[in-house]
Protein backbone atom coordinates (compact mmCIF):
# COMPACT_ATOMS: atom_id res chain seq x y z
CA UNK A 1 0.00 0.00 0.00
CA UNK A 2 2.39 2.75 -1.15
CA UNK A 3 1.78 6.36 -0.18
CA UNK A 4 1.79 8.69 -3.19
CA UNK A 5 1.87 12.50 -3.05
CA UNK A 6 -0.12 14.46 -5.63
CA UNK A 7 1.03 18.06 -6.14
CA UNK A 8 -1.47 20.39 -7.83
CA UNK A 9 -0.40 23.14 -10.24
CA UNK A 10 -0.92 25.71 -7.47
CA UNK A 11 1.42 23.79 -5.15
CA UNK A 12 -1.15 22.26 -2.81
CA UNK A 13 -0.33 18.68 -1.89
CA UNK A 14 -2.39 15.62 -1.13
CA UNK A 15 -1.05 12.30 0.15
CA UNK A 16 -3.02 9.21 -0.83
CA UNK A 17 -2.55 5.57 0.13
CA UNK A 18 -2.78 3.53 -3.06
CA UNK A 19 -3.39 -0.15 -3.53
CA UNK A 20 -1.47 -2.17 -6.06
CA UNK A 21 -4.43 -3.28 -8.19
CA UNK A 22 -5.26 0.27 -9.27
CA UNK A 23 -4.15 2.67 -11.97
CA UNK A 24 -2.77 5.97 -10.79
CA UNK A 25 -5.86 7.66 -12.27
CA UNK A 26 -8.14 5.43 -10.16
CA UNK A 27 -6.12 6.26 -7.06
CA UNK A 28 -6.54 9.98 -7.71
CA UNK A 29 -10.25 9.77 -8.55
CA UNK A 30 -10.99 7.50 -5.58
CA UNK A 31 -9.42 10.05 -3.25
CA UNK A 32 -11.10 12.99 -4.98
CA UNK A 33 -7.79 14.59 -5.94
CA UNK A 34 -8.66 17.72 -7.95
CA UNK A 35 -6.84 18.06 -11.26
CA UNK A 36 -7.53 14.60 -12.69
CA UNK A 37 -10.67 14.61 -14.88
CA UNK A 38 -10.47 11.21 -16.64
CA UNK A 39 -13.44 11.68 -18.97
CA UNK A 40 -12.97 8.30 -20.64
CA UNK A 41 -12.32 6.49 -17.38
CA UNK A 42 -9.20 4.67 -18.47
CA UNK A 43 -9.68 4.02 -22.19
CA UNK A 44 -6.69 6.26 -23.07
CA UNK A 45 -9.03 8.20 -25.36
CA UNK A 46 -9.48 11.63 -23.80
CA UNK A 47 -6.09 12.85 -22.49
CA UNK A 48 -7.69 14.38 -19.38
CA UNK A 49 -5.74 12.42 -16.74
CA UNK A 50 -2.37 13.88 -17.74
CA UNK A 51 0.27 14.03 -15.01
CA UNK A 52 3.99 14.63 -14.63
CA UNK A 53 5.84 11.68 -13.21
CA UNK A 54 8.75 11.80 -10.80
CA UNK A 55 11.69 10.78 -13.06
CA UNK A 56 13.30 8.89 -10.16
CA UNK A 57 10.37 6.46 -10.30
CA UNK A 58 10.06 6.27 -14.09
CA UNK A 59 11.37 2.70 -14.08
CA UNK A 60 8.29 1.55 -12.16
CA UNK A 61 5.75 3.27 -14.40
CA UNK A 62 5.94 0.90 -17.35
CA UNK A 63 6.47 1.71 -21.01
CA UNK A 64 4.43 4.37 -22.82
CA UNK A 65 2.18 2.54 -25.31
CA UNK A 66 1.81 3.69 -28.91
CA UNK A 67 -1.71 5.00 -28.38
CA UNK A 68 -0.84 6.78 -25.12
CA UNK A 69 2.17 8.33 -26.81
CA UNK A 70 0.06 9.91 -29.54
CA UNK A 71 -2.64 10.96 -27.10
CA UNK A 72 -0.03 12.78 -25.01
CA UNK A 73 0.56 15.13 -27.93
CA UNK A 74 -2.98 16.44 -27.41
CA UNK A 75 -2.97 17.25 -23.71
CA UNK A 76 -4.29 20.66 -22.67
CA UNK A 77 -1.10 21.47 -20.72
CA UNK A 78 2.38 21.19 -22.15
CA UNK A 79 3.83 17.72 -22.65
CA UNK A 80 7.23 17.16 -21.09
CA UNK A 81 9.60 14.20 -20.86
CA UNK A 82 7.84 13.30 -17.57
CA UNK A 83 4.31 13.31 -19.03
CA UNK A 84 2.09 10.24 -18.70
CA UNK A 85 -1.61 9.48 -18.82
CA UNK A 86 -2.25 8.34 -15.26
CA UNK A 87 -4.84 5.79 -16.41
CA UNK A 88 -2.08 3.84 -18.16
CA UNK A 89 0.23 3.67 -15.12
CA UNK A 90 -0.31 0.86 -12.64
CA UNK A 91 0.56 1.21 -8.99
CA UNK A 92 3.35 -1.00 -7.65
CA UNK A 93 4.68 -1.25 -4.09
CA UNK A 94 7.95 0.43 -5.13
CA UNK A 95 6.06 3.71 -5.68
CA UNK A 96 6.16 4.35 -1.90
CA UNK A 97 6.96 8.04 -1.37
CA UNK A 98 6.60 9.00 -5.04
CA UNK A 99 5.36 12.45 -6.02
CA UNK A 100 3.11 13.11 -9.03
CA UNK A 101 2.65 16.66 -10.31
CA UNK A 102 -0.65 17.66 -11.91
CA UNK A 103 -0.95 20.11 -14.82
CA UNK A 104 -2.82 23.42 -14.64
CA UNK A 105 -5.40 22.26 -17.21
CA UNK A 106 -6.75 18.94 -18.46
Amino acid sequence: MPKIMFIAADGTTREVTASADQSLMEVALGAGVPGIVAECNGAAACATCHCYFDPAYAGYAGEIGEHENEMLDFTASERTADSRLSCQVHVVAEMEGMTVRLPSAQ
Binding site: L29, V37, E39, C40, N41, G42, A43, A45, C46, T48, E66, H67, E70, M71, D73, F74, A76, A105, Q106
Partner: protein
Protein backbone atom coordinates in the same frame (compact mmCIF):
# COMPACT_ATOMS: atom_id res chain seq x y z
CA UNK B 1 -34.63 6.74 -0.57
CA UNK B 2 -37.57 7.59 -2.80
CA UNK B 3 -39.23 6.16 -5.88
CA UNK B 4 -38.69 7.48 -9.41
CA UNK B 5 -41.12 10.39 -9.97
CA UNK B 6 -43.17 10.60 -13.16
CA UNK B 7 -43.60 13.47 -15.61
CA UNK B 8 -46.67 12.73 -17.70
CA UNK B 9 -47.72 16.09 -19.10
CA UNK B 10 -45.12 16.68 -21.82
CA UNK B 11 -45.70 15.67 -25.41
CA UNK B 12 -43.15 13.88 -27.58
CA UNK B 13 -43.41 16.73 -30.06
CA UNK B 14 -42.45 19.26 -27.38
CA UNK B 15 -39.31 17.18 -26.68
CA UNK B 16 -38.40 17.18 -30.38
CA UNK B 17 -39.11 20.87 -30.78
CA UNK B 18 -37.19 22.23 -27.77
CA UNK B 19 -36.15 19.73 -25.09
CA UNK B 20 -34.24 22.21 -22.93
CA UNK B 21 -37.11 23.62 -20.81
CA UNK B 22 -38.25 20.02 -20.23
CA UNK B 23 -34.70 18.93 -19.36
CA UNK B 24 -34.50 21.76 -16.82
CA UNK B 25 -37.76 20.74 -15.19
CA UNK B 26 -36.74 17.06 -15.06
CA UNK B 27 -33.28 17.95 -13.71
CA UNK B 28 -34.82 20.04 -10.92
CA UNK B 29 -37.39 17.35 -10.07
CA UNK B 30 -35.14 14.41 -9.15
CA UNK B 31 -31.93 12.55 -10.13
CA UNK B 32 -34.03 10.10 -12.20
CA UNK B 33 -37.49 10.82 -13.60
CA UNK B 34 -39.79 8.66 -15.72
CA UNK B 35 -40.84 10.80 -18.69
CA UNK B 36 -43.98 9.21 -20.09
CA UNK B 37 -43.66 10.76 -23.56
CA UNK B 38 -40.21 9.17 -23.98
CA UNK B 39 -41.31 5.95 -22.23
CA UNK B 40 -37.98 6.05 -20.40
CA UNK B 41 -36.44 7.00 -17.06
CA UNK B 42 -34.13 9.94 -17.71
CA UNK B 43 -31.00 10.90 -15.78
CA UNK B 44 -30.21 14.55 -16.39
CA UNK B 45 -27.67 15.77 -13.80
CA UNK B 46 -23.98 15.98 -14.70
CA UNK B 47 -22.57 14.33 -11.57
CA UNK B 48 -25.06 11.44 -11.69
CA UNK B 49 -24.13 10.59 -15.28
CA UNK B 50 -20.43 10.63 -14.34
CA UNK B 51 -21.17 8.27 -11.43
CA UNK B 52 -23.12 5.93 -13.72
CA UNK B 53 -20.43 5.86 -16.41
CA UNK B 54 -17.82 4.88 -13.82
CA UNK B 55 -19.89 1.87 -12.70
CA UNK B 56 -20.54 -0.37 -15.72
CA UNK B 57 -21.23 -3.35 -13.43
CA UNK B 58 -24.40 -1.65 -12.14
CA UNK B 59 -25.20 0.31 -15.31
CA UNK B 60 -24.62 -1.94 -18.32
CA UNK B 61 -24.41 -1.09 -22.03
CA UNK B 62 -25.27 -4.70 -22.81
CA UNK B 63 -28.94 -5.21 -23.47
CA UNK B 64 -30.36 -8.43 -24.94
CA UNK B 65 -33.54 -6.58 -26.00
CA UNK B 66 -31.66 -3.74 -27.71
CA UNK B 67 -33.01 -2.65 -31.08
CA UNK B 68 -29.45 -1.67 -32.02
CA UNK B 69 -28.42 -5.32 -31.80
CA UNK B 70 -31.47 -6.41 -33.75
CA UNK B 71 -30.82 -3.95 -36.55
CA UNK B 72 -27.02 -4.02 -36.66
CA UNK B 73 -25.95 -7.31 -35.12
CA UNK B 74 -23.60 -7.84 -32.15
CA UNK B 75 -21.84 -4.46 -31.88
CA UNK B 76 -19.20 -3.35 -29.38
CA UNK B 77 -21.32 -0.33 -28.49
CA UNK B 78 -23.69 -2.66 -26.64
CA UNK B 79 -21.02 -4.66 -24.81
CA UNK B 80 -19.11 -4.16 -21.57
CA UNK B 81 -15.64 -5.04 -20.34
CA UNK B 82 -13.27 -7.23 -22.32
CA UNK B 83 -15.66 -7.90 -25.22
CA UNK B 84 -16.00 -4.18 -25.84
CA UNK B 85 -12.30 -3.49 -25.30
CA UNK B 86 -11.16 -5.98 -27.96
CA UNK B 87 -13.28 -4.34 -30.66
CA UNK B 88 -12.35 -0.87 -29.53
CA UNK B 89 -8.64 -1.70 -29.61
CA UNK B 90 -8.94 -3.14 -33.12
CA UNK B 91 -10.12 0.16 -34.59
CA UNK B 92 -7.84 2.37 -32.49
CA UNK B 93 -5.10 2.81 -35.13
CA UNK B 94 -7.53 4.59 -37.49
CA UNK B 95 -8.49 7.10 -34.78
CA UNK B 96 -5.09 8.02 -33.35
CA UNK B 97 -4.39 11.74 -33.10
CA UNK B 98 -1.25 11.45 -35.22
CA UNK B 99 -3.07 9.50 -37.95
CA UNK B 100 -5.85 12.05 -37.91
CA UNK B 101 -3.48 14.96 -38.26
CA UNK B 102 -1.18 13.50 -40.88
CA UNK B 103 -3.49 11.23 -42.87
CA UNK B 104 -7.14 12.26 -42.49
CA UNK B 105 -6.93 16.03 -42.05
CA UNK B 106 -5.46 16.77 -45.53
CA UNK B 107 -8.07 14.51 -47.15
CA UNK B 108 -10.92 16.14 -45.27
CA UNK B 109 -9.64 19.63 -46.10
CA UNK B 110 -9.68 18.67 -49.78
CA UNK B 111 -13.26 17.39 -49.57
CA UNK B 112 -14.33 20.63 -47.86
CA UNK B 113 -12.52 22.80 -50.45
CA UNK B 114 -14.40 20.97 -53.21
CA UNK B 115 -17.79 21.40 -51.57
CA UNK B 116 -17.25 25.11 -50.98
CA UNK B 117 -16.00 25.52 -54.59
CA UNK B 118 -19.28 24.13 -55.85
CA UNK B 119 -21.52 26.45 -53.83
CA UNK B 120 -19.51 29.67 -53.51
CA UNK B 121 -20.90 31.46 -56.57
CA UNK B 122 -24.54 31.05 -55.52
CA UNK B 123 -24.25 33.57 -52.68
CA UNK B 124 -26.75 31.63 -50.58
CA UNK B 125 -27.40 28.08 -49.46
CA UNK B 126 -28.96 25.88 -46.83
CA UNK B 127 -25.78 24.59 -45.20
CA UNK B 128 -27.40 21.31 -44.13
CA UNK B 129 -27.74 19.69 -47.58
CA UNK B 130 -25.16 21.88 -49.34
CA UNK B 131 -22.25 21.41 -46.98
CA UNK B 132 -22.64 19.65 -43.62
CA UNK B 133 -24.34 16.44 -44.79
CA UNK B 134 -22.05 15.75 -47.80
CA UNK B 135 -18.99 16.74 -45.76
CA UNK B 136 -19.81 14.31 -42.95
CA UNK B 137 -20.75 11.56 -45.38
CA UNK B 138 -17.74 11.84 -47.69
CA UNK B 139 -15.24 12.01 -44.85
CA UNK B 140 -16.79 9.03 -43.04
CA UNK B 141 -16.74 7.07 -46.30
CA UNK B 142 -13.05 7.83 -46.63
CA UNK B 143 -12.33 6.79 -43.04
CA UNK B 144 -14.24 3.52 -43.32
CA UNK B 145 -12.48 2.66 -46.57
CA UNK B 146 -15.48 2.58 -48.93
CA UNK B 147 -14.84 3.61 -52.50
CA UNK B 148 -16.77 5.38 -55.27
CA UNK B 149 -20.12 5.83 -53.63
CA UNK B 150 -22.39 8.94 -53.79
CA UNK B 151 -22.59 10.75 -50.43
CA UNK B 152 -26.37 10.31 -50.45
CA UNK B 153 -26.02 6.53 -50.21
CA UNK B 154 -24.08 6.54 -46.95
CA UNK B 155 -26.35 9.30 -45.58
CA UNK B 156 -29.44 7.19 -46.37
CA UNK B 157 -27.93 4.08 -44.77
CA UNK B 158 -27.03 6.07 -41.69
CA UNK B 159 -30.54 7.52 -41.30
CA UNK B 160 -32.20 4.16 -41.98
CA UNK B 161 -30.09 2.48 -39.26
CA UNK B 162 -30.78 5.27 -36.75
CA UNK B 163 -34.52 5.07 -37.48
CA UNK B 164 -34.39 1.29 -37.15
CA UNK B 165 -32.55 1.47 -33.82
CA UNK B 166 -35.22 3.85 -32.48
CA UNK B 167 -38.15 1.93 -33.96
CA UNK B 168 -39.91 1.25 -30.64
CA UNK B 169 -43.31 1.18 -32.34
CA UNK B 170 -42.06 -1.72 -34.56
CA UNK B 171 -43.14 0.03 -37.75
CA UNK B 172 -42.73 -2.49 -40.60
CA UNK B 173 -41.58 0.04 -43.20
CA UNK B 174 -38.87 1.46 -40.92
CA UNK B 175 -37.69 -2.08 -40.20
CA UNK B 176 -37.61 -2.92 -43.91
CA UNK B 177 -35.51 0.17 -44.70
CA UNK B 178 -33.07 -0.61 -41.87
CA UNK B 179 -32.64 -4.18 -43.13
CA UNK B 180 -32.15 -2.91 -46.67
CA UNK B 181 -29.44 -0.50 -45.46
CA UNK B 182 -27.79 -3.37 -43.57
CA UNK B 183 -27.69 -5.53 -46.69
CA UNK B 184 -26.25 -2.65 -48.72
CA UNK B 185 -23.51 -2.13 -46.14
CA UNK B 186 -22.65 -5.86 -46.02
CA UNK B 187 -22.26 -5.84 -49.80
CA UNK B 188 -20.13 -2.68 -49.77
CA UNK B 189 -17.82 -4.24 -47.15
CA UNK B 190 -17.55 -7.43 -49.19
CA UNK B 191 -16.53 -5.42 -52.25
CA UNK B 192 -13.48 -3.82 -50.59
CA UNK B 193 -12.42 -6.17 -47.81
CA UNK B 194 -9.86 -8.18 -49.82
CA UNK B 195 -8.25 -4.96 -50.95
CA UNK B 196 -7.87 -3.73 -47.36
CA UNK B 197 -6.55 -7.12 -46.22
CA UNK B 198 -3.91 -7.10 -48.97
CA UNK B 199 -3.00 -3.41 -48.65
CA UNK B 200 -2.95 -2.33 -44.98
CA UNK B 201 -3.80 1.37 -44.63
CA UNK B 202 -5.23 3.76 -42.00
CA UNK B 203 -8.90 3.05 -42.88
CA UNK B 204 -11.20 1.47 -40.30
CA UNK B 205 -11.87 -1.62 -42.43
CA UNK B 206 -8.13 -2.12 -42.81
CA UNK B 207 -7.61 -1.77 -39.04
CA UNK B 208 -10.36 -4.33 -38.40
CA UNK B 209 -9.23 -6.93 -40.91
CA UNK B 210 -5.53 -6.54 -40.05
CA UNK B 211 -6.00 -6.45 -36.26
CA UNK B 212 -4.33 -9.13 -34.15
CA UNK B 213 -6.45 -11.23 -34.05
CA UNK B 214 -8.49 -9.99 -37.05
CA UNK B 215 -12.06 -9.00 -36.20
CA UNK B 216 -14.48 -11.76 -37.29
CA UNK B 217 -16.68 -10.85 -40.28
CA UNK B 218 -19.89 -10.66 -38.16
CA UNK B 219 -18.10 -8.18 -35.89
CA UNK B 220 -16.88 -6.15 -38.85
CA UNK B 221 -20.39 -5.96 -40.30
CA UNK B 222 -22.03 -4.98 -37.01
CA UNK B 223 -19.39 -2.49 -35.93
CA UNK B 224 -19.23 -0.77 -39.33
CA UNK B 225 -23.00 -0.33 -39.03
CA UNK B 226 -22.59 1.29 -35.62
CA UNK B 227 -19.93 3.56 -37.07
CA UNK B 228 -22.20 4.52 -39.99
CA UNK B 229 -25.22 5.01 -37.72
CA UNK B 230 -23.22 6.95 -35.16
CA UNK B 231 -20.50 8.70 -37.13
CA UNK B 232 -22.35 10.77 -39.69
CA UNK B 233 -25.02 12.89 -38.05
CA UNK B 234 -22.81 13.98 -35.14
CA UNK B 235 -20.11 15.76 -37.19
CA UNK B 236 -22.83 17.05 -39.53
CA UNK B 237 -24.79 18.53 -36.63
CA UNK B 238 -21.66 19.85 -34.89
CA UNK B 239 -20.66 21.73 -38.07
CA UNK B 240 -24.07 23.39 -38.23
CA UNK B 241 -24.34 24.07 -34.49
CA UNK B 242 -20.91 25.71 -34.30
CA UNK B 243 -21.73 27.82 -37.38
CA UNK B 244 -25.09 28.80 -35.89
CA UNK B 245 -23.57 29.68 -32.51
CA UNK B 246 -21.06 32.02 -34.09
CA UNK B 247 -23.50 33.59 -36.58
CA UNK B 248 -25.96 34.29 -33.75
CA UNK B 249 -23.26 35.94 -31.61
CA UNK B 250 -21.38 38.46 -33.77
CA UNK B 251 -19.05 39.68 -31.01
CA UNK B 252 -17.91 36.15 -30.24
CA UNK B 253 -17.59 35.43 -33.95
CA UNK B 254 -15.30 38.42 -34.37
CA UNK B 255 -13.12 37.30 -31.45
CA UNK B 256 -12.73 33.78 -32.86
CA UNK B 257 -11.94 35.03 -36.37
CA UNK B 258 -9.42 37.51 -34.93
CA UNK B 259 -7.85 34.88 -32.67
CA UNK B 260 -7.86 31.48 -34.40
CA UNK B 261 -6.47 29.84 -31.24
CA UNK B 262 -10.05 30.20 -29.91
CA UNK B 263 -11.44 27.69 -32.45
CA UNK B 264 -11.03 24.68 -30.12
CA UNK B 265 -12.89 26.53 -27.33
CA UNK B 266 -15.65 27.46 -29.78
CA UNK B 267 -15.98 23.84 -30.89
CA UNK B 268 -16.20 22.47 -27.33
CA UNK B 269 -18.75 25.14 -26.44
CA UNK B 270 -20.90 24.32 -29.48
CA UNK B 271 -21.16 20.62 -28.61
CA UNK B 272 -21.83 21.45 -24.96
CA UNK B 273 -24.54 23.98 -25.91
CA UNK B 274 -26.41 21.70 -28.34
CA UNK B 275 -24.97 18.20 -27.97
CA UNK B 276 -25.45 16.20 -31.21
CA UNK B 277 -26.15 13.05 -29.17
CA UNK B 278 -28.58 14.17 -26.50
CA UNK B 279 -29.33 10.80 -24.90
CA UNK B 280 -28.05 7.22 -24.85
CA UNK B 281 -29.35 4.20 -22.94
CA UNK B 282 -28.07 2.02 -20.11
CA UNK B 283 -29.65 -0.90 -18.22
CA UNK B 284 -29.68 -1.20 -14.42
CA UNK B 285 -28.29 -4.67 -13.61
CA UNK B 286 -29.10 -4.70 -9.87
CA UNK B 287 -31.33 -2.66 -7.60
CA UNK B 288 -29.44 0.45 -6.66
CA UNK B 289 -29.61 3.94 -5.23
CA UNK B 290 -28.82 6.93 -7.44
CA UNK B 291 -28.42 10.07 -5.32
CA UNK B 292 -31.38 9.04 -3.14
CA UNK B 293 -33.65 7.59 -5.81
CA UNK B 294 -34.25 3.84 -5.96
CA UNK B 295 -33.68 2.22 -9.34
CA UNK B 296 -35.05 -1.29 -9.82
CA UNK B 297 -33.10 -4.16 -11.37
CA UNK B 298 -33.70 -4.33 -15.12
CA UNK B 299 -34.78 -0.70 -15.42
CA UNK B 300 -33.92 0.99 -18.72
CA UNK B 301 -32.51 4.45 -18.19
CA UNK B 302 -31.59 7.20 -20.62
CA UNK B 303 -28.47 9.24 -19.87
CA UNK B 304 -29.44 12.72 -21.06
CA UNK B 305 -26.06 14.28 -21.75
CA UNK B 306 -27.85 17.06 -23.63
CA UNK B 307 -29.44 17.97 -20.29
CA UNK B 308 -26.30 17.38 -18.19
CA UNK B 309 -24.36 19.74 -20.44
CA UNK B 310 -26.82 22.46 -19.39
CA UNK B 311 -26.84 21.53 -15.70
CA UNK B 312 -26.58 24.82 -13.80
CA UNK B 313 -25.02 22.92 -10.91
CA UNK B 314 -21.94 22.75 -13.15
CA UNK B 315 -22.23 25.40 -15.89
CA UNK B 316 -23.09 29.03 -15.13
CA UNK B 317 -25.80 30.49 -17.38
CA UNK B 318 -25.91 27.14 -19.19
CA UNK B 319 -28.34 28.02 -21.98
CA UNK B 320 -25.99 30.67 -23.34
CA UNK B 321 -23.49 29.95 -26.13
CA UNK B 322 -20.28 31.43 -24.74
CA UNK B 323 -16.88 30.63 -26.22
CA UNK B 324 -15.25 32.46 -23.29
CA UNK B 325 -16.65 30.05 -20.73
CA UNK B 326 -13.93 28.79 -18.32
CA UNK B 327 -12.58 25.52 -19.65
CA UNK B 328 -14.51 22.65 -18.08
CA UNK B 329 -15.13 19.14 -19.29
CA UNK B 330 -18.57 18.31 -20.70
CA UNK B 331 -20.36 15.09 -21.65
CA UNK B 332 -20.95 15.61 -25.38
CA UNK B 333 -18.60 12.68 -26.13
CA UNK B 334 -19.95 10.62 -23.26
CA UNK B 335 -17.72 9.27 -20.49
CA UNK B 336 -16.28 5.96 -19.45
CA UNK B 337 -15.31 3.00 -21.59
CA UNK B 338 -17.61 4.06 -24.44
CA UNK B 339 -16.15 7.58 -24.66
CA UNK B 340 -16.59 8.59 -28.31
CA UNK B 341 -13.87 7.01 -30.47
CA UNK B 342 -14.37 9.83 -32.98
CA UNK B 343 -13.68 12.65 -30.51
CA UNK B 344 -10.35 13.70 -31.98
CA UNK B 345 -11.53 13.32 -35.57
CA UNK B 346 -14.45 15.64 -34.90
CA UNK B 347 -12.30 18.16 -33.01
CA UNK B 348 -9.97 18.29 -35.99
CA UNK B 349 -12.54 18.13 -38.80
CA UNK B 350 -15.26 20.37 -37.44
CA UNK B 351 -13.30 22.75 -35.23
CA UNK B 352 -10.12 23.16 -37.25
CA UNK B 353 -11.01 22.46 -40.88
CA UNK B 354 -14.64 22.82 -41.95
CA UNK B 355 -16.08 25.72 -39.95
CA UNK B 356 -12.92 27.88 -40.07
CA UNK B 357 -12.76 27.34 -43.86
CA UNK B 358 -16.43 28.27 -44.19
CA UNK B 359 -15.90 31.63 -42.46
CA UNK B 360 -12.67 32.22 -44.32
CA UNK B 361 -14.03 31.60 -47.81
CA UNK B 362 -17.64 32.81 -47.58
CA UNK B 363 -17.27 36.56 -47.11
CA UNK B 364 -19.68 38.26 -44.73
CA UNK B 365 -21.42 34.97 -43.97
CA UNK B 366 -24.76 35.72 -42.27
CA UNK B 367 -28.11 34.27 -41.22
CA UNK B 368 -31.24 35.17 -43.21
CA UNK B 369 -33.97 37.19 -41.50
CA UNK B 370 -36.53 35.80 -43.93
CA UNK B 371 -35.54 32.14 -43.40
CA UNK B 372 -34.63 31.34 -39.79
CA UNK B 373 -32.69 28.20 -38.89
CA UNK B 374 -34.72 25.19 -37.82
CA UNK B 375 -33.57 22.85 -35.03
CA UNK B 376 -35.09 19.53 -34.12
CA UNK B 377 -34.59 16.47 -31.96
CA UNK B 378 -33.69 15.41 -28.44
CA UNK B 379 -32.02 11.96 -28.76
CA UNK B 380 -30.08 13.47 -31.65
CA UNK B 381 -30.30 17.24 -31.98
CA UNK B 382 -29.04 19.83 -34.40
CA UNK B 383 -30.09 22.30 -37.09
CA UNK B 384 -32.11 20.52 -39.80
CA UNK B 385 -32.00 23.67 -41.90
CA UNK B 386 -29.46 26.52 -41.76
CA UNK B 387 -30.14 29.03 -44.58
CA UNK B 388 -27.32 31.57 -44.97
CA UNK B 389 -26.13 34.27 -47.38
CA UNK B 390 -22.67 35.61 -48.18
CA UNK B 391 -21.11 38.12 -50.56
CA UNK B 392 -20.50 36.16 -53.77
Amino acid sequence: MSAVPVVADVSYDALLDDPYPIFRRVRDTAPAVFVAAANLTLVTRFDDIMTIERDPATYSSDNPASLVNKVMGPTFMRKDGAEHAVGRKAIEPSFRPGTIKEHWAPKFAEICEGLIDSLIEAGEADLFPALAAPMASLSLMEMIGFKGMPWETLALWSQSLIDGAGNYSRDAEIERKAMEAGAGIDAAIEAVLDHHRAHPNPSILSSMVNADPPMPIEGIRANIKVIIGGGLNEPRDAILTLTLGLLSNPTQKKSVLDKPELWPNAFEEAVRWISPIGMYPRRVTRATDLSGVTLAEGLQIGLCVGAANRDDRRFADPDRFDVFRPRQSHLAFGAGAHFCAGTWVSRQTVGRIVVPMLFERLANLRLRDDAPPLLRGWVFRGPVSLPVRWDA
